[in-house]
């Protein structure tokens, strides 16, 4: 059933006026004995924001990592701006990495250095001759941009999950990348941080950056995503404009959308798919995101406002766009 949707809208051949920023052709990724991605071909358009959604364990995170080129792929090819990223020489590869940023779900800050060093390292790596003053100015600015409040000279271990996510966001954007990959950008965030991030994403989108994010959050999907890539069991089920996908009438797509939004409760994007059935019979209630983030950031004063989830964020297709 889903075949109808994908045959109509699959983005392997995008309209001529839309250039792809990131293309995957026939990409497979195998972890040991399990195939995480099976012959995936998909394009992410330049200047657009694409939400990669799907149930837990569907291979979203793997798809994102393969697209960003930070995990080795077992078959196929990944191209950024039409250049295969595996055939770059060292100089080109370094230049290429300046063009991309990656925000990890669990922030993945380098624990053995201060927050400031976490931000300074990409700068110093890509611009070895940069002065210390410039580094300090840039890091301060990046932290201000994400409205990070705290002592940047401390280690990341002292941060709450939400604060760590903000720092991760600052780190990923400090080089002002063309393409930003985000793995669950809004989980673990308290309300303030959540708003900050959504705002930042909107700014980047307005500035013509390409955003590719894995998310379970329907509000983010509605507000920011231009397009949706629906993933299940290691393959792309369908791709298309957000509204088209969300309003698709076939059962399969609707099922997957329900599962995708609900599975955020599982808080384990790469976990095996046993959570799937659980997600299946769950209803599309408005609470799917918040309980997790509230518990994660309970030390934040701002999180005591429980009803921050926008009411229109249900996935019935009535998005705010």
């Amino acid at each position: 059933m889903s075949q109808q949707v994908s045959s109509a809208e699959t983005a392997t051949t995008p309209p001529y006026w839309e250039e792809p920023a990131v293309e995957l052709s026939s990409v497979s990724v195998v972890f040991g004995h399990t195939t995480a991605l099976r012959d995936v071909s998909v394009s992410f358009l330049k200047g657009k924001t694409t939400a990669v959604i799907g149930p837990a364990g569907s291979g979203k995170s793997t798809l994102l990592r393969a697209a960003a080129g930070i995990i080795p792929i077992d078959a196929g090819e990944v191209r950024h701006f039409s250049s295969p990223i595996d055939s770059l020489n060292r100089r080109e590869a370094a230049a290429h990495k300046r063009l991309i940023g990656f925000v990890f779900q669990d922030a993945a800050l380098w624990q053995n250095m201060s927050i400031r060093r976490n931000l300074a390292l990409p700068l110093e790596f890509h611009y070895p001759n940069i002065s210390q003053a410039d580094v300090d100015a840039k890091t301060d600015e990046a932290l201000r941009r994400v409205r990070f409040r705290g002592n940047p000279d401390l280690r990341p271990a002292t941060l709450s999950a939400g604060q760590a996510k903000l720092v991760a966001f600052a780190r990923a954007t400090i080089l002002d990348p063309e393409i930003l990959f985000l793995d669950e950008p809004t989980t673990f965030l308290d309300e303030n941080a959540y708003r900050n991030v959504v705002e930042l994403l909107e700014v980047m989108r307005r500035n013509g950056r390409t955003l590719i994010m894995v998310t379970h959050n329907s509000e983010v999907t509605h507000r920011i995503a231009d397009r949706i890539v629906l993933v299940d069991e290691g393959t792309v089920e369908s791709t298309g404009r957000t509204r088209q996908i969300l309003e698709a009438s076939d059962e399969r797509t609707q099922q997957l959308l329900h599962a995708a939004v609900f599975s955020e409760l599982e808080d384990a994007p790469d976990a095996p798919a046993e959570g799937f059935s659980q997600a299946d019979d769950a209803t599309t209630d408005q609470n799917p995101v918040r309980p997790a983030s509230r518990s994660e950031s309970s030390q934040q004063a701002s999180c005591s406002t429980p009803e921050h989830l926008p009411k229109e964020a249900a996935n019935d297709g009535g998005g705010p766009r």
């Binding site: 930070i70 300046r98 991309i100 990890f104 993945a108 380098w110 990409p122 110093e124 070895p128 780190r171």
Partner: protein
């Protein structure tokens, strides 16, 4: 059954090849590391601090104790043979040639090998390695090479300290057992030691340092995704490190003294 064995052998071989490829990668990344700036120098300094400076007390205590034991046993046994002079040869053979390199290696395996494996394993699990990759930083040149250099430098230097404390500590003990003038003692040692002894000792330490660092980093990176793998890898890191060091020790001793 047979296919099981075949698969196991296959896996072993491919693991071994992978490990060798890893080692080659690490060595190829050394120039890149050396040409890089101060950021990475900090990691090297930290590694020497943790591996070398912090292990100094253990090494000093151990070597002094071993030197003392050799002196006590030697002064019990050797006079009966009329060969007191041999005590210097034995001290050099035991402390400089054999125990110095291998015991410092063991100490470093136990302290820093596990630490490196655990740390890198944690880095993998917490996606910090992927963060490096996403930034364009090669984890091998950024994480492995400074650890390799730091551990190797530390093992060599600790071996020197082992000799200092082992030979001087034993002098202190010899004052209680059978007082001997300091210059006579030093002269005896200088008479007993040869350039081959020193060269072998340093070579061993260099090789052990490289082995420990490669094994530890390899197992650290071998952690796939679960935190529960980290302690398992740490244990294997120690086991492999110790076994490989002993094998290398035997080979170097054979090559040097045959």
């Amino acid at each position: 059954m047979v296919s099981g064995i075949g698969r196991a052998v296959n896996e072993r071989i491919s693991n071994l090849l992978y490990a060798l490829g890893f080692a080659v990668e690490v060595f190829r990344a050394i120039p890149e590391y050396l040409s890089s700036g101060r950021t990475r120098a900090r990691i090297l300094v930290a590694q020497v601090l943790f591996t070398g400076v912090e292990a100094l007390a253990v090494v000093a205590a151990l070597s002094a104790a071993i030197g003392a034991v050799i002196i006590i046993q030697g002064f019990n046994l050797l006079p009966a043979l009329g060969q007191e002079q041999l005590i210097f040869v034995i001290l050099i053979a035991v402390i400089t040639r054999e125990f110095g390199p291998i015991l410092t290696a063991f100490i470093v395996v136990a302290r820093s090998g596990t630490a490196i494996t655990t740390e890198l394993g944690h880095n993998v699990v917490s996606h910090e390695i992927e963060a490096y990759l996403a930034t364009g930083i090669n984890p091998i040149s950024f994480l492995v090479v400074p650890r390799l250099l730091g551990v190797t430098i530390s093992v060599v230097l600790l071996n020197i300290y082992f000799n200092v404390f082992g030979l001087l500590g034993s002098y202190a003990v010899s004052q209680f057992v059978s007082p001997i003038a300091f210059d006579v003692y030093v002269y005896g040692l200088f008479d007993a030691v040869t350039l081959t002894d020193l060269f072998t000792s340093v070579t061993k330490s260099l090789v052990f340092g490289v082995i420990i660092a490669l094994v530890a980093t390899y197992h650290g990176f071998a952690v796939a995704r679960a935190a529960t793998e980290i302690p398992q890898r740490a244990i294997r890191s120690v086991g492999h490190g110790v076994v490989l060091c002993i094998l290398a020790n035997t080979v170097i001793t054979l090559v040097s003294y045959l």
